[in-house]
């Protein structure tokens, strides 16, 4: 059994990097009540890949961008992140903007893939292809995740303050627009790269479920980060192993373990309250 799992060791390491990065940022995603921003950005990223495949199929190079779908996905995801970062005081409510972006990105992705000459099945965007992660992919994922996580560790109090009470932060001289944009760009960066391998559902899972487990049982921000990270890594290892041993789709298996861990966290919460 172990041998079978070790055959996919590189893929497991990649999944762990994605889990670590997404669950850390997921703490803010959950606390700021922007969980559907995660879903919308993942969907926008998948539409970016579909756009690259479609343009490539009809012979448009776009300065080489269409040869590297991740590059185009990154550009459209960061553009989407910037739009969400600035959607606080508009006439259209922020959740409506997110919903519209999600629906349009999902539809655009499906339409573009349907007409792409060398497109992959659309399922790949929803379910991802975790097992296909190579060692090089893992290095790339780590090279993206490490600076993002370091930035979040160094500027923890800045990200916390502008998330918790931006008006007061503004009165103390914080450039709230800058920090908010910085936060969304780190989120967009992580999602754009994680999406290539994990798919919309698994990225959404890593952003939300571990952080919710943390929120249920932790009594401090540090505790919430710790629980979220441990839950996401545990779900990755167990879900990955179960999928290999029982020949299950990897993404949904990881999500199922995340759900079980969330249930355990909820039971702990009930026990804490008694």
């Amino acid at each position: 059994m172990i041998d079978a799992i070790l055959l996919f060791a590189d893929a497991l390491y990649g999944a762990l990097v994605i889990a670590l990065a997404c669950s850390t940022l997921g703490v803010y995603v959950v606390l700021r009540r922007i969980v559907f921003v995660g879903a919308a950005l993942a969907q926008i990223s998948s539409a970016g890949i579909a756009l690259a495949l479609f343009l490539s199929g009809i012979g448009i190079g776009a300065f080489g961008l269409t040869q590297h779908p991740v590059a185009l996905a990154l550009i459209v995801t960061l553009a989407g992140a910037m739009v969400f970062a600035g959607s606080g005081r508009q006439r259209v409510p922020p959740d409506a903007t997110i919903g519209a972006a999600y629906a349009m990105a999902a539809a655009a992705g499906i339409l573009l893939i349907a007409k792409a000459a060398s497109g992959e099945a659309h399922d790949i965007f929803l379910q991802g292809n975790i097992l296909g992660i190579t060692r090089t992919d893992t290095y790339v994922l780590f090279a993206i995740a490490a600076p993002v996580l370091i930035a979040h560790a160094v500027f923890y109090k800045e990200f916390l303050f502008i998330s918790f009470d931006r008006e007061t932060a503004r009165t103390l001289g914080y450039n709230v627009t800058f920090w908010n944009l910085f936060f969304y760009l780190t989120l967009g960066l992580v999602i754009a790269f994680a999406m290539q391998f994990a798919g919309v559902l698994l990225v959404f899972n890593f952003l939300v479920l571990p952080a919710v487990a943390g929120l249920l049982i932790a009594r401090s921000m540090r505790g919430m980060f710790a629980v979220a990270i441990i839950a996401s890594l545990t779900a990755s290892v167990f879900g990955f192993s179960l999928s290999v041993v029982f020949d299950l789709p990897t993404g949904p298996a990881i999500i199922a373990v995340s759900g079980a861990l969330l249930l355990i966290a909820w039971l702990i919460r009930i026990a804490q309250q008694r």
Binding site: F155, F164, D165, E167, T168, R170, S220, M221
Partner: protein
């Protein structure tokens, strides 16, 4: 007393649309000023201009050099879902002094505890913010504003949604901070009756204008009737002033 914030023929608004025009008044050192007006009158617009978050369309709003605000937002503006202790929240008032990318020191933590002592809830310092009562949350936010050692304490609707006891305690605490520590205080509220018995001056906002004066000047029936556009009666009960809208044929018998 020197002026800390000066409005000089300032017009305030969003885009090109002026919400308030030609405002000229000062917030002076040692002031205890109530910024009062009905909902939608433009109090928040003035507040944003005072804090520097909104630039005037015309005229000027100037702040004294080195001026530091201690801002207490409306309670419902703060998200109590975060797993933060009371002292964690108070420490935020020192974040800008601590510096970019640095963590609060033991000394910062002690200052936060002192601020909590100042508002009477030091014993709650490690308690989760979410578990506090409305009055305790408000005291936490006041402690956060005080820990940064401000020149001006600004409270935005500090008694919104509070019961009578909590409201009286919070307003009493604010008055104590003004009288005991000589702190300049600006209290923003839609509730004239609550504020009028605590502050020393009132800036009444209505119909795009600001009428500023001592509490005695503003709390006259003539001034209030003109500003609100309806007949108003000012009565007193046990030394407290109460403003009521006059109804035709009604007898308001509250005089001492």
């Amino acid at each position: 007393m020197s002026a800390l914030v000066t409005f000089d023929r300032a017009s305030l608004g969003y885009g090109r649309r002026a919400v308030l025009s030609n405002l000229s008044f000062e917030i002076r050192e040692g002031d205890f000023l109530g910024l009062v007006g009905p909902n939608g009158s433009g109090k928040t617009t003035i507040l944003r201009a005072i804090l520097g978050a909104l630039q005037p369309i015309a005229g000027s709003v100037t702040r004294a050099e080195g001026l530091r605000f201690g801002y207490v937002p409306q309670r419902d503006q703060v998200d109590y879902g975060y797993p933060l202790s009371v002292v964690d929240v108070v420490l935020m008032g020192r974040y800008d002094r601590i510096g970019l990318g640095k963590r609060p020191s033991k000394a910062d933590r002690e200052l936060a505890c002192d601020a909590l002592e100042h508002v009477g809830i030091r014993d709650l310092s490690e308690r989760p913010l979410a578990n506090l009562s409305g009055g305790q949350k408000q005291r936490t936010l006041i402690a956060r504003a005080l820990v940064g050692d401000p020149n001006v304490l600004i409270l935005d609707e500090p008694t919104n949604g509070m019961d009578l006891v909590s409201m009286t305690q919070i307003l009493g605490l604010v008055r104590e901070l003004h009288e005991r520590d000589g702190l300049t205080v600006l209290m923003v509220s839609h509730a004239l009756n609550e504020v009028a018995n605590y502050v020393e001056r009132i800036a009444l906002v209505a119909d795009g204008k600001v009428h500023i004066g001592s509490t005695d000047e503003i709390m006259s029936e003539e001034t209030l009737s003109n500003m609100y556009g309806i007949p108003v009666e000012v009565s007193s009960f046990n030394g407290l002033r109460i403003v009521v809208a006059r109804r035709a044929g009604a007898n308001t018998d509250l005089h001492d």
